[in-house]
């Protein structure tokens, strides 16, 4: 298996779970030019990120090209406990995607 594009850290403290994740992705806006050829670099960015706690959706994010390269995402939610599963899944404008699960610590 290729190395996953997602890194997840999820921590529970006093009933609140903090999830931090990093996704490796070029996030090309489609407005940047290749300096040598002068041609536009085609757009390639993540459009949708879904975070699930066990089987329930916690966060559904829609992104544009304005999100930085190798995006970082952090969010908090209540009602999670240690050992629960967090799943992060993304899809980009080319239809590619990846998902990864991690346990809450």
């Amino acid at each position: 298996m290729a190395k996953s594009s997602i890194k997840i850290r999820a921590k529970e403290r006093q009933g609140v779970v903090t999830v931090k994740c990093l996704i490796s992705h070029p996030m090309e806006t489609g407005m940047r030019k290749n300096k040598k050829t002068g041609k536009l670099i085609p757009a390639h960015f993540i459009q949708n990120v879904v975070a699930r706690h066990n089987d329930k959706d916690v966060l559904d994010a829609q992104w544009g090209g304005g999100v930085s390269k190798n995006p970082y995402l952090a969010f908090k939610f209540s009602g999670g406990s240690k050992g629960d599963t967090i799943t992060i899944a993304w899809t980009d404008n080319k239809g590619q995607g990846d998902s990864k699960s991690a346990k809450i610590k």
Binding site: Q62, W63, G66, S68, K69, K76
Partner: protein, 158 residues
């Protein structure tokens, strides 16, 4: 006999491969159905108001200092500006992050699930000095706050 055996092995192999193929395509299909809802128009909108109009159906926002935006006063590198949006407003449904000076101001939209708290962080690109605008939808109303960020090196140019 020998060729028949090979044929069987071949069939088995291709059958296994096709089931994997089906599983993969099924896995990919789920997020694609979600993709249909991606508000393309809003992400291409040229003004924050147009973008909000497309996402929330209204560009009318009420200024609120209950929304806290954490972003640097001066961003040395516009390609990576860390932004955190928090809000004390109850029943937050979604949070939008915009950069007023970008060609396409709408950067990200976060739809919060039932248990999610109004506290999200991301890193955004800013083309030039401008405001980071956070719009929070709660109880059917839109609230907004903004924070100026000075960008020394733009993040959208080549």
């Amino acid at each position: 006999m020998n060729t028949d055996m090979k044929r069987r092995v071949f069939l088995k192999g291709s059958l296994a491969a096709s089931t994997v193929g089906i599983a993969v395509s099924a896995g990919l299909l789920a997020p694609q159905t979600v993709l249909a809802a991606w508000p393309e128009k809003s992400f291409h909108a040229k003004s924050p108001k147009d973008a909000l109009d497309g996402v929330f159906g209204s560009g009318q926002t009420e200024a609120s200092n209950k929304i806290k935006i954490k972003a640097p006063d001066i961003a040395e590198n516009g390609a990576v500006v860390p932004v955190t949006v928090k809000s004390d407003i109850p029943d937050v449904e979604s949070i939008a992050i915009l950069a007023s000076a970008n060609d396409s101001p709408l950067i990200a939209l976060f739809n919060l699930g039932q248990n999610a708290m109004a506290d999200v962080s991301a890193r955004i690109k800013m083309g030039k000095t401008g405001d980071v605008i956070a719009v929070v939808k709660a109880g059917g109303k839109l609230y907004a706050n903004r924070k100026g960020v000075k960008v020394t090196i733009g993040g959208c140019g080549g």
